[in-house]
């Protein structure tokens, strides 16, 4: 999966780090100090439609071109998360108990075209 940069507007992963101090939540969230709220953005033109990640080989690109020519017009392909990882979090609840849990599928690792 590509990380977004200025040169391309193809489907990619946009990284963004949220520090819990910026939202005043560092008093009840003990660890971590923040997390990556990455998201997917960019276009999915026909020749990369439904490719799981942009790291596809040239072989896949050729296959996609062939598929694109046979593609029904108006098929809409979206840039969506294709791989996510969990976030371990340690926090106080309202009774000052400490809870530790792993939140599944919290951080977007990779994007691809649906």
């Amino acid at each position: 999966s590509l990380r977004c940069d200025q040169t391309s507007d193809l489907c990619c992963r946009k990284d963004y780090y949220v520090d819990f101090r910026d939202i005043g939540w560092n008093d009840w969230i003990i660890k971590p100090e923040g997390y990556q709220i990455n998201y997917c953005m960019g276009q999915c033109p026909p020749h990369v439609a439904s490719s799981p990640g942009m790291a596809s080989s040239s072989h896949t690109a050729v296959l996609n071109l062939i598929r694109a020519h046979n593609l029904q017009p108006g098929g809409q392909s979206c840039c969506v998360p294709t791989h996510r990882r969990p976030l371990s979090i340690l926090y106080f609840d309202r009774n000052s108990n400490i809870l530790k849990t792993d939140i599944p599928d919290m951080i977007v690792e990779a994007c691809g075209c649906s």
Binding site: W28, I29, N95, S96, K100, I103
Partner: protein, 227 residues
């Protein structure tokens, strides 16, 4: 669509193309919503009685020591292979408040806020107590933990037994979380101990007694049909 003329993103994906100014505000709000939703919280907790950092550090250190010991020696707690797919696994540390205290006994109170509509399954539960070594050093020390008069555990400690000790509370905590009560009260009795049983009875102490539990939480209606 985004104010300020930003190009609308892919309509089906509902992810707008964010202008730099709006991106930060949008993502901070999104992060708040995402964290609360994933932790099944309606709003952020307001910590009204902060726990001393030292007590937190102590408890976390013992939590990991206990974890390492359990992983090394398959004892009463088999290493935990994690929750099922439709459950969330939790480790809970709850610090005791002292309700009453006399030379050889004291009352401990733990406050829980069971998530509304969640069924909590307790897998492991231990009470950690810091016992001051008795001055006499001769008579054996007997530690008894009861709940509403029913004896939960009785332990004989060597005479010079100052330091942290654990008492298993598994059946009691499982029964407690099956009920609707939110306050767990325990009575602690210490024979052969000087003064009150645990050195950490006052709330500000880093030797505050605490309870460690491992649980899985499943929201009702999330029953996965096992084929």
């Amino acid at each position: 669509s985004v104010q300020g003329g930003g190009k609308p993103g892919c309509p089906a994906c509902r992810m707008p193309t964010l202008e730099p100014g709006t991106e930060r505000r949008f993502l901070l709000e999104l992060a708040k919503r995402q964290v609360l939703e994933k932790l099944h919280l309606m709003e952020r907790p307001n910590v009204t009685q902060p726990v001393p950092r030292l007590a937190v550090t102590n408890a976390l250190r013992h939590l990991h020591v206990g974890q390492a010991q359990r992983d090394r020696q398959p004892g009463p707690f088999a290493p935990w292979d994690g929750p099922e797919a439709d459950e969330l696994g939790y480790e809970i540390i709850s610090f005791a408040k002292t309700e009453f205290s006399s030379p050889s006994s004291m009352g401990l109170r733990f406050q829980f806020s069971q998530g509304t509509g969640q069924d909590v399954h307790i897998l492991q539960a231990q009470l950690w107590l810091y016992v001051r070594a008795p001055q006499s050093g001769l008579s054996p020390v007997t530690l008894r933990v009861s709940q509403a008069g029913a004896l939960l555990s009785e332990r004989q400690l060597e005479a010079r037994a100052g330091g942290w000790h654990t008492v298993s509370l598994l059946p009691a905590l499982q029964a407690f979380f099956r009920g609707q009560e939110k306050t767990l009260r325990l009575e602690l009795e210490c024979r052969g101990c000087q003064a009150n049983a645990t050195a950490g009875s006052d709330a500000g102490s880093s030797h505050q007694p605490f309870l460690v539990a491992k649980a899985t939480v499943r929201k009702p209606g999330q029953q996965v049909a096992k084929r």
